[in-house]
Amino acid sequence: DQQVKQNSPSLSVQEGRISILNCDYTNSMFDYFLWYKKYPAEGPTFLISISSIKDKNEDGRFTVFLNKSAKHLSLHIVPSQPGDSAVYFCAEGGATNKLIFGTGTLLAVQP
C-alpha cells in the first residue's frame, strides 16, 4: 500500500530562519512529488514539484530535496516569513494521476 508520511505535525521557526519540512514515502514507482500549502478555509495551493529523476529543485525561497535511497524528501524555505505560516502537504503523483497526500505539517513562523 502506497504511503506518504509527514511525521512532524507542527513546526515553529523564527522569521528569517530556515524552515525544513520532511516527508517519507514507501512507493519507489512514483513520477513526481508536489508540495502544497494550505491556509484555513482555502484549498491547497501548489508550491513546487520534484521529478523522480532529480534530487533537487529550487524556486525562489523554496527548495525541495529528494533522497531516493532513503525514500525521503524535504522542503526548505529560506528565509521564512510570517506569511508562510500554513499547513504544508507533500503529495506523490504518478501514472494513476491521483495524488497521495501526506498528513500535513503546520508551520508557524514567529515574527
Binding site: 513520477d31 484549498g43 491547497p44 495551493t45 514539484s49 521529478s51 501514472a95 494521476n97 491521483k98
Partner: protein, 117 residues
C-alpha cells in the same frame, strides 16, 4: 479568470440523508478530481473524471458517486450519510488527467465543508 469554484461552501446534514456537492473547473480544463479531507489528515482521492468518463476511483464505498457534465462541471453525491463523512471535500481540475501536474500542480477549489450530525 475564475479558478475552481465549489458550492456550497458549508453544509450541515443529518445521518442517513443524501448530499450533492458541485464543482466547476477552470475554463478550458476537462478533468476534475474529488478529494476528501478529514480533520487532521491529508486529502484522500475519491474520483477522477475526464471527458465525462470515470478515470479513477479511490477506496470509498458505493455510497459515493460522481458524474461530469458536457460543460466539464462535476457533481459528487453521497448517499446514506454517516457521521464519518464529515469532512472538507475538495475538487481539483486539470487540462487532462495528469497533464501539467508536474509543472503546475492540480488546481484546487476552496472546498465544501460537510458536517453530518
Amino acid at each position: 479568470d475564475a479558478g475552481v469554484t465549489q458550492s456550497p461552501t458549508h453544509l450541515i446534514k443529518t445521518r442517513g440523508q443524501h448530499v450533492t456537492l458541485r464543482c466547476s473547473p477552470i475554463s478550458g480544463h476537462k478533468s476534475v478530481s474529488w478529494y476528501q479531507q478529514v480533520l487532521g489528515q491529508g486529502p484522500q482521492f475519491i474520483f477522477q473524471y475526464y471527458e465525462k468518463e470515470e478515470r479513477g476511483r479511490g477506496n470509498f464505498p458505493d455510497r459515493f458517486s460522481a458524474r461530469q457534465f458536457p460543460n466539464y462541471s462535476s457533481e459528487l453525491n453521497v448517499n446514506a450519510l454517516l457521521l464519518g463523512d464529515s469532512a472538507l471535500y475538495l475538487c481539483a481540475s486539470s487540462l487532462a488527467p495528469g497533464q501539467g501536474a508536474y509543472n503546475y500542480g492540480y488546481t484546487f477549489g476552496s472546498g465544501t465543508r460537510l458536517t453530518v450530525v
